[in-house]
């Protein structure tokens, strides 16, 4: 189980592997199934974008991969190892940047190092954080408080914090969802540049199909609740994409297919009305 996956004779190491996961939440009116047959495989160093209708259990997926909860049935593997709890090799980013208001931007970025790299020197921590802040264009803002920054800048700082300890896995739950369209596109490019500079494997939960195609190496469509893996689309585009790629006929076709898949997931098939 887990580990190397043989696909047509080529060995690909799946860093993240989710197999047949089912999960239900206990509610006042009985169990509420949210996941029912989830299968996801993310090869090392690649980017998986997960899309699906609202409330279909996408956030549950992030908590499973982060080891914050265990599924009722099925397995989640990282590196072929069963995930039993939180591990230091994971970074998380949310729609709400959840920066600590009493810390400066620099101290916010350093926070994970205080937990996972207790023996790292202060100078090394600062140097690492400043490198990342530089990559996302926040040099000069390191001593500001989060409240002094715009929403997009706060999300950039939050990205730095989720990457500062060089995690193997980056889990993002709609990190750009609350930003305006232009800021969002800026952050897509920042994300692309970060991927080029740092090796990490990503699971991105998103509502934005263009975002999923621009950033993803594969787009996974989940069905409506309870969610199962409904459709997987490999994204066959050059590594260093520019925003222009979103306006090519090829991408338009891909978006069209994804759009149809979402409609199926919502139970609203084309022509059903």
């Amino acid at each position: 189980m887990g580990g190397p996956d043989r696909t047509g004779g080529i060995e690909i190491e799946n860093l993240i592997e989710i197999k047949g996961v089912k999960h239900a939440y206990a509610t006042a009116s009985g169990p509420l199934p949210v996941l029912d047959g989830l299968d996801v495989a993310v090869p090392k160093g690649t980017f998986a974008a997960v899309v699906g209708p609202s409330g279909c259990g996408k956030s549950t997926l992030t908590r499973l991969v982060a080891g914050l909860m265990k599924p009722d049935e099925g397995q989640v593997y990282l590196h072929g190892e069963l995930v039993k709890g939180p591990r230091k090799t994971v970074g998380m980013a949310f729609q709400n940047p959840v920066l600590l208001e009493w810390r400066t931007i620099l101290e916010n970025v350093i926070l994970p190092l205080e937990i996972v790299a207790t023996r790292m020197s202060r100078a090394d921590r600062v140097a690492r954080a400043m490198d990342l802040l530089d990559m996302v264009g926040l040099t000069g803002f390191e001593n500001k408080r989060p409240s002094e920054l715009s929403g997009g800048m706060r999300q950039r700082a939050s990205l730095c914090r989720s990457l500062v300890h060089k995690p193997e896995v980056l889990i993002m739950d709609e990190p750009f969802g609350a930003l305006d369209a232009f800021t969002r596109e800026d952050l897509w490019q920042t994300m692309r540049d970060l991927r080029r500079a740092e090796p990490f494997t990503t699971v991105l939960i998103t509502h934005d199909l263009r975002e999923s195609v621009f950033l993803g190496d594969q787009v996974i469509v989940l069905s409506g609740r309870p969610a199962r893996t409904q459709y997987v689309m490999p994204v066959d585009l050059p590594e260093d994409r520019t925003l222009d790629v979103l306006y090519t006929p090829k991408v338009a076709d891909m978006l069209h297919i994804l759009r149809d898949q979402i409609k199926i997931a919502q139970g609203r098939h084309e022509g059903a009305h």
């Binding site: 982060a66 939180p86 998380m92 600590l100 009493w102 996972v116 408080r145």
Partner: protein
């Protein structure tokens, strides 16, 4: 800086002026209502008593308040982190808080006969821990799960999460409650000093003024209490600036 000092001083002077005018215009004798001009002689005549008894009131209030901070914070942590504890303790806490504390003075006076310092500190504590416990509890229970998750996903212990995130995040609410608690603790101390007098504290001085028909003394005690209350309140504000100054937004 000028405004920060001059404006409050002016408002106090205006207040005293209006008070003097009210007494003068009505022609009230000082056994009906003392005027500000009666107060300095009263303070001067009993200056030793004011210092001794004022100190007694102050230290007992502060000790009661410190106990309330420790106990209230612990209780707030329990009801903030455990749903079961919250459901179990809230009715008890609200009920206890609703009991007028004046009715408890004879109860504790009988329970701990003669232990006047202890009784006074106990009352200051009992009347002031509630707002602290509730605000810390609410601060912790309303902590957004994402805040917890960013550290929990790294394998941080609950204690680390509390120390690095929950505790500092709750500080503004804590200090808000502490300002209320400081005032309440004063009420508690004076309640015991007045209802169950043992010749200690400004409350006892007030009581003796009443017994002897010394109305300027009674009013002087009220003013002294107000001054002590202001001192304690601004001590809390000072601590808040140091420990939770980040929560203050720049004006404009």
């Amino acid at each position: 800086m000028f405004n920060k000092v001059a404006v409050p001083v002016m408002s106090i002077l205006v207040f005293l002026g209006l008070w003097e005018l009210l007494v003068w215009a009505n022609g009230w004798p000082n056994y009906k209502m003392a005027s500000p001009s009666d107060l300095p002689p009263a303070f001067w005549q009993y200056r030793d008593l004011f210092l001794i008894m004022g100190w007694q009131t102050l230290w007992r209030t502060v000790v009661g308040l410190l106990l309330a901070v420790v106990f209230g914070t612990l209780l707030g942590m329990i009801i903030g982190f455990s749903r079961v504890a919250r459901d179990a303790l809230y009715p008890l806490l609200v009920g206890f808080n609703a009991v007028p504390k004046a009715t408890l003075v004879p109860v504790i006076a009988l329970l701990f006969i003669g232990q006047h310092d202890f009784n006074t500190v106990l009352m200051a504590f009992m009347i002031s821990f509630f707002p602290i416990a509730v605000s810390v509890g609410i601060g912790l229970s309303t902590l957004e799960p994402e805040y917890r998750d960013i550290l929990r996903a790294l394998g941080a212990s609950n204690f680390t999460i509390f120390r690095k995130i929950a505790l500092p995040k709750t500080l503004p609410e804590f200090f808000g409650a502490l300002k209320v608690a400081a005032t309440l603790a004063f009420i508690g101390t004076n309640l015991v000093e007045i209802v169950s007098p043992h010749g200690r504290g400004l409350g006892a001085l007030f009581k003796s003024g009443e017994t002897n028909g010394n109305y300027p003394l009674m009013f002087a005690v009220l003013i002294a209490l107000a001054v002590l209350g202001i001192v304690l309140y601004y001590a809390v504000v000072f601590l808040e600036k140091i420990f939770a100054g980040w929560a203050e937004r720049a004006p404009g």
